[in-house]
Symmetry: C2
Subunit: 229 residues, 2 copies
């Protein structure tokens, strides 16, 4: 069986597009466009800065991405609007099935952790506001290694923390590129393909996939039953 | 004065969206969406593979990105459709002002080069089909270092080729992230902001910018006049 399960945070546990309703309230008719471009640029900046060795904390690049997205869409961004959007980002909604699914996994006796690009402070707030306090044994932030996934140094936090080879750890992400990066690194991986996306064409396939964390629970239970058989 | 001028290829010299008309012919009503998603995924894959140390040549990731983009948009992709789109990508249209602008820069006595993610074979065909043969002293492909911009190893090809510090070389790109990456690396940079985009929020600003290669010619002439004064 797996020694532990590690979860990506943004998009996997927390719905990054849950800022859309506030964005729509602030910018009628543009909420979805802002939410999407904000997220795209946030990921872009994490990659560009990692490739160039120009790390800045995820909170800052999230703020930078918001600045760009508003400028690109021609939306004004007052200090108050920025404060409200960033505060909303700090307390993203969890996907509805996540809390019971995490509790079910915890009940199987498996250590759970988050391995995320978010800063420790961001992860701490997000976990508490989602009612997930106490479910995770570790909140691992790539801030510790000053780079972002999919860099190997970022994924290495899992094996280092659990003193186990990556293949004995299950890494879960709803981001196809993250599931692929973790598979390259050596994890056993589960892709939560919430949106029914086609697979990323990266020449690597996650170990398993499903459409929600409920499918993950079924996958882990089947493995556990198989391991004991 | 600058010791040489280095150009990004895709988006800067060659219009990556010039495949749109063929895409529109093959998939009526979806040409622009396919062209855009294809380009986005191509760049994503270059970054993810660089971060993960999983280099594959640009021709392959361009093909992979096409596969993904068609699947995501629900478009069929026959072997013949793939062949035609990839062939079109090999012979992208140059932006209209580029050929006279490059000739004007060449007439100033400056060595010109391309520094691109494209493979040597892709660059060779693109330059010839655009009528630019003989204008460049070097076609530098990041294939030589098995990674993609904005990795420092990729930009290092310029100083190595011209035996000059990066600040004495002018790097030109229409991709804001590329202009920023080259500025971080140490080049003097010119951002060809064709689409009037807001600046990338990366905490670094290109040395100069303009809306076309004509503005670049004016910038270089002014520098040359200043240098001689």
């Amino acid at each position: 069986m797996f020694r532990a399960i590690l979860f990506d945070a943004y998009g996997t546990l927390f719905d990054v597009h849950s800022v859309t309703s506030l964005a729509e309230q602030l910018y009628p008719g543009q909420g979805a466009a802002l939410s999407q471009l904000w997220r795209e640029r946030q990921i872009d900046y994490s990659r560009i800065r990692t490739m160039s060795g120009q790390y800045r904390p995820f909170y800052e690049i999230t703020d930078d991405a918001l600045t760009f997205a508003c400028a690109r869409l021609g939306l004004p961004l007052s200090a108050e609007q920025r404060r409200r959007l960033m505060a909303q980002y700090a307390c993203l909604s969890p996907f509805p099935e996540n809390l019971p699914a995490l509790k079910a996994l915890k009940a199987l006796g498996l250590p759970l952790a988050i391995l995320s690009n978010g800063t420790p402070a961001m992860l701490d707030i997000a976990v508490k506001s989602a009612g997930m306090a106490g479910l995770f044994d570790h909140l691992l932030s790539t801030h510790a290694v000053q780079c972002y996934k999919t860099a190997p140094e970022a994924y290495q936090l899992g094996p280092d923390t659990f003193d186990a080879p990556a293949k004995d750890l299950l890494f879960v992400s709803s981001n196809g590129w993250d599931a692929c990066g973790a598979t390259w690194f050596g994890y056993t991986t589960f892709w939560v393909n919430r949106a029914g996306q086609p697979p990323e064409e990266l020449g690597v396939v996650p170990s398993a996939s499903g459409s929600s964390l409920n499918d993950l629970v079924a996958f882990v239970r089947a493995r556990q039953a198989g391991g004991k058989a």
